[in-house]
Symmetry: C2
Subunit: 355 residues, 2 copies
């Protein structure tokens, strides 16, 4: 497999120039390193004249503080961790989260360090402890399902590492959570479908135990109730947020004597599966069946017809989490940040055929 080309030259360590240190800056600006430190960290009590001189030196030498020295000497390591479990790491959801975090990092001089834990490994607490113990991460962003695991939370608490949870299942004392109102979002979507004239609306649940999945289901129920529709247990099937589970769920729904005229899946991947299954059953979308998803992921726009779905502002959620972690306020009030969702109507939904 390896094709070795004739090696002409080895690595060019010739031109490698050592980056400037705080001493170099201090010397050039004719101040002490402490003053440089003050300027770089935007601390007060530095004369205007001095500050200007230092900043010029910084610019001239392209000085950037060394990440390791900082991490070693202080509590502000400028490293933010994203902790995710391997199975979920490939999703567009995590990717979007990362993009949000990255843009914020770049703006504020932080770095993103991604750590994975194997959810299937029993000793999760040990894994997290081990990761965080000597990393001195300034903060950690937790995603589902990790954010709802006691072992993870406890390990983080013991290490004294601040963390923010994204869309966790349950509230916990002393945590900060960022989320949308999943209940309201599902309520809105269901109400929209009812408004189109659908009276029999199928539902594909998200993974059991996921908090957002549960909230969405309850929002669906509430909308049915408010819309004067009965809850029909048959048209609600369990899914697991995967495309595959969506296939199975939709097959079960299509096998019903009395099919729903609309199906609301708990995320876009499962909704896409409904679309695919519909093709096999020769059902025209949206004429014979309306399909709605959740997330507004890439998939929602790539399938045909494009999915009506509910957009989560994932990047904004990531940025909110970053803000919380980078502003080290010493008042540790647990709280919840709740961002807005948005109904995105596309071609996969329409009024039902008159039968």
């Amino acid at each position: 497999m390896k094709q070795n080309r004739p090696a002409a030259v080895s690595r060019q360590k010739t031109a490698v120039q050592k980056p400037a240190s705080i001493y170099d800056v201090a010397k050039r600006a004719k101040v002490s390193i402490k003053t440089v430190s003050r300027v770089v960290n935007r601390l007060p009590s530095v004369g205007d004249e001095t500050r200007k001189r230092v900043m010029e030196a910084v610019e001239a030498l392209s000085y950037r503080p060394n990440v390791y020295a900082r991490g070693l000497a202080s509590e502000r390591s400028f490293l933010i961790g994203l902790l995710c479990d391997i199975p979920a790491a490939g999703s567009g959801y995590i990717a979007a989260l990362q993009i949000g975090m990255l843009s914020r990092c770049r703006k504020e001089g932080y770095h993103l360090i991604v750590e994975s834990v194997d959810e299937r490994n029993s000793d999760l607490g040990h894994q997290v402890r081990s990761l965080v113990a000597q990393s001195r991460l300034q903060g950690v962003v937790l995603t589902s399902p990790l954010c709802d695991m006691p072992a993870v939370i406890e390990a983080l608490n013991n290490a004294g590492t601040p963390f923010v949870r994204i869309a966790p299942e349950k509230s916990l004392p002393h945590t900060i959570d960022v989320r949308i109102d999943d209940h309201a979002a599902a309520y809105d979507m269901t109400t929209y479908l009812i408004g189109l004239g659908h009276r029999r609306i199928g539902f594909i649940k998200g993974t059991a135990g996921h908090g957002d999945a549960k909230a969405r289901f309850e929002g669906y129920l509430a909308a049915l109730a408010d819309g004067g529709l009965p809850f029909v247990e048959d048209v609600c099937v369990q899914g697991q947020f995967t495309y595959q589970s969506g296939m199975e769920a939709s097959e079960r729904l299509f096998a019903l004597k009395k099919r729903p005229t609309a199906i609301f899946a708990c995320n876009d991947d499962m909704a896409a599966a409904v679309l695919a299954t519909s093709q096999r059953f020769n059902l025209k979308i949206p004429q014979q069946l309306s399909v709605a998803g959740f997330d507004d992921s890439l998939v929602a726009q790539v399938v045909w017809p494009r999915l009506t779905t509910c957009r989560q502002p994932i990047e904004e959620m990531a940025q909110a989490a970053m803000s919380i972690l980078t502003q080290r306020s010493d008042d540790n009030e647990p709280f919840e940040v709740r961002l807005d969702h948005e109904l995105v109507v596309r071609e996969s939904t329409a009024p039902p055929d008159v039968q």
Copy 2:
């Protein structure tokens, strides 16, 4: 000094315990820190008895070396960087790459640090220099299009930071590249389509200037030639690896007087667009038109019918890159690692209708 770190964000009930340092381990094992260091770093010249004592102490204290101290004191920071440009960061391609890198990191005690640069910002070199300068990353993985930008390469070289390029466009002196054989892969796919009986095979090119895109086109041409088919310029249209460009390309192909019976798109996103457009034109897939993609991304399995495509072993590529970067051999000759591709046949291709 600071025994109790103020938990800025999430409060913990019990006091945080300071993690064990190399001194703690040394004291417990009754050896010097140097010996501990030797054991931890798996260096030779340690007595079996001593090594065992140290390892027990390490275990007992849950000792993990401090990332920052290591980075500060030595060349081996145990940090590997993944450099990607923001527009591309959301793709499944990058996600898969990360998963491969992460699993390797976990196994070998490394950490993954993801850095983004804004490709649209003019001063790319400065961005990269700034990022890498004081980070002392042990190595960097470069993806397209960054891996083909001279400013990026130069900045990395100047900093003396080793890097591996994933599927770069052009060969460069003194670099290490990991890739599949795009030419052969496209050749195989085209030959497969010819084997089905197709005589008129459309092609949607990838972004101009991308090396893999070019190689795939040439593989397509070679297969046509070897299959005794003429090259028809009309059925080759330019795409840009995006879903949108695939829509436009397929519309142009469908507008031809003499349509192709099969279309081979340079990636799955564009192939998915062909599928969608086919629906609008009421073309039955694969009966009236065969469609093939490239990458075997999530999209290929989520559309209907599922795409025949060519799988790139992205995770393996990531792991190969990691291996190269973590084994710091000083005789770093430039070379190329070429991994195998795999033809994945699904429902989007079939023999052409007899007209």
